[in-house]
Amino acid sequence: MWQWFHKLGSPKWFFGIAGRLMPWLGWSALIVLTAGVVWGLLFAPADYQQGDSYRIIFIHVPSAYLGQSLYVAMAVAGVVGLVWRMKMADTFIASATAVGAAMTFLALLTGAVWGKPTWGTWWVWDARLTSMLLLLFLYLGVMALRGAMEDPDVRARASAILVIVGVVNIPIIKYSVEWWNTLHQPATIKVTEAPSMPASMWVPLLICLLGFHLLVAWLILWRMRNDILLRERRARWVRDWVLAQ
C-alpha cells in the first residue's frame, strides 16, 4: 500500500502507468457512453409529463454530479499535496480544474436548455442553479489564481490552500443558498423531481453516469500526462520518450 503511495510521487512512474491505462479508459468510455446515450435517447420511454424533453437528463445529471465531485477530489489532492509535497497532486489539480469547470458549465447549459420547455424560462434563481453557478465561479477563481502565478511550487501550494478553503465553504454556500430561497419566497417554480423513476429510465442514466466517469478519468489522465511532460521537459526520460515516438 505505502509502496504504491510512494510510487505515485514519481512523475515517470505515473506517466507510464497512465499511458497504459488510457486506451482502456478511452475505449470503454466510448462504448459505455454510446450505449447509455443511445439507450437513453432512442429506447427509454418518454416521460408522461415532460415528453421527450426530459431526455437531456442523461447528459445533465452526470455532468452536474461530476462538476461537484471533482472539486472535492481536488481538495483531497490539495491536502495530499500540502502534507506530502507530492508533485502528482498538483498535476491533478491543474488537470481537473478545467475539466470540472467544463462539467459544471455543461450542467448549467443543459439545465437552461431543459428549463425552457419545462419551466418556461432559461434561468430561475433556484437554490440549486445558484449554487452550481457559484461552483463555476469557484473553479474560475482557482484557474485565475493559477494563471497569475509563475513559480510552480508556489502555484501548487497556493492553489491547494484555495481549493481547501473552497471545500470548507461549499456546504456553507450550498445551505445558505437553499435557506435563502426558502426564506425569501414561496417557491414559484419547483424543480420537478423525477419521483421513483422506472428502471427503463434509471438504468440508462446509471450507464451514462459510468460513461461520464470513464470519459472524465480519460480526459484528466490525458491532461496530466501533458502536464508531466511540460514540467519534466528537462529530464532525461522525457527526452528519451519523445525521441522514441
Binding site: L134, M149, A158, I161, I173, W179, L183
Partner: protein, 241 residues
C-alpha cells in the same frame, strides 16, 4: 509611500511574549493608519459613492429604495472591503515586514488575527457607523437601519477574515486587485444572504435572531479557521519573493 512610525515591535522575544506581540501588532497598525488619514477616507468615500449610484441609476422612488436599500448597502460594503483588502499586506510585503513576521517565534496565525482585527476597527467600523446616515437617505425606517447596522457589525468581520486569505495568497502578485475580487466573491455569498435576510425579516416583522445566530456561527468559524489559512498563505507568498 506611507510613513512608517518607529514602533519597537519586539517580535523576536521569547515565545511567551505572544500577547505582547499581538498588542504591538495592533498598535503599529493603528499608528500607521492614523498617520495616513487619507487611506482611511478612501474606502468610506467609495462606499458612499457606490450607494449613491443606485438612486441615480435605478430609481429615486422611496418605495424602491426601502426595498432595495439594505441590499445596496451590503453590496457596497462588500465591495469597499474587497477593495481595501487589496492593500492589507501589500506594504508589509514590499518593505520586508512580512518576512520578519514569518521568522519570528510568535505564532503567525495570531499576528494575522491581530492584524485583521486592527484593520477591521480602522477601515470597516467607520463605514458601519456611517450606515445610519445612509439609512435615512435611503428612506429606511430607524428600526430597519438599526438592524442593518447590527448585521453589518456581525457580518463584516467575516468578510475581512475570509478576504484576508485571498489578500495573503495574492500579495506577491502584481496587479492582483481584480484577481482578489474574482477569487473571494463566491465566499462572500453566505454572509450577504444572511445579512440582507435579517433586514428583510425585520421589515416583515419576523424574528431576526435566526439570521444573526447563523452570522455569529460563521463569525466564530472564521475567527478559528481563517487565521490558520492566512498564516499558511502568507508563508507561501513570502517564500515566493
Amino acid at each position: 509611500m506611507r510613513s512608517e512610525p518607529r514602533v519597537p515591535v519586539r517580535l523576536q522575544e521569547q515565545e511567551s511574549g505572544w500577547p505582547r506581540a499581538a498588542v504591538e501588532t495592533v498598535r503599529r497598525e493603528w499608528l500607521i493608519a492614523f498617520r495616513n488619514r487619507q487611506d482611511l477616507m478612501n474606502p468610506l468615500v467609495f462606499f458612499v459613492l457606490i450607494v449613491s449610484l443606485f438612486p441615480l441609476g435605478v430609481s429615486p422612488e422611496p418605495e424602491f429604495l426601502r426595498q432595495a436599500g439594505p441590499g445596496i448597502v451590503w453590496v457596497a460594503a462588500l465591495l469597499s472591503i474587497l477593495l481595501s483588502l487589496n492593500l492589507l499586506f501589500r506594504n508589509d510585503y514590499a518593505d520586508g515586514h512580512l518576512e520578519q513576521w514569518v521568522l519570528s517565534p510568535q505564532p503567525l496565525a495570531l499576528l494575522a488575527l491581530a492584524r485583521v482585527a486592527a484593520v477591521w476597527v480602522t477601515t470597516v467600523l467607520p463605514l458601519v457607523l456611517l450606515v445610519p446616515v445612509l439609512a435615512v437617505m435611503l428612506h429606511l425606517s430607524p428600526g430597519t437601519g438599526l438592524v442593518l447596522v447590527l448585521t453589518l457589525l456581525v457580518g463584516t468581520p467575516v468578510l475581512v477574515l475570509v478576504g484576508a486569505i485571498g489578500a495573503a495568497l495574492t500579495v506577491s502578485l502584481r496587479g492582483s486587485g481584480v484577481l482578489l475580487v474574482l477569487i473571494m466573491t463566491p465566499f462572500y455569498v453566505p454572509v450577504l444572504i444572511f445579512g440582507t435576510g435579517a433586514v428583510t425579516a425585520a421589515v416583515e416583522g419576523a424574528s431576526i435572531t435566526g439570521h444573526l445566530a447563523l452570522l455569529g456561527a460563521m463569525l466564530s468559524l472564521a475567527v478559528v479557521l481563517a487565521p490558520l489559512a492566512i498564516a499558511g498563505a502568507l508563508r507561501i507568498s513570502v517564500s515566493n519573493g
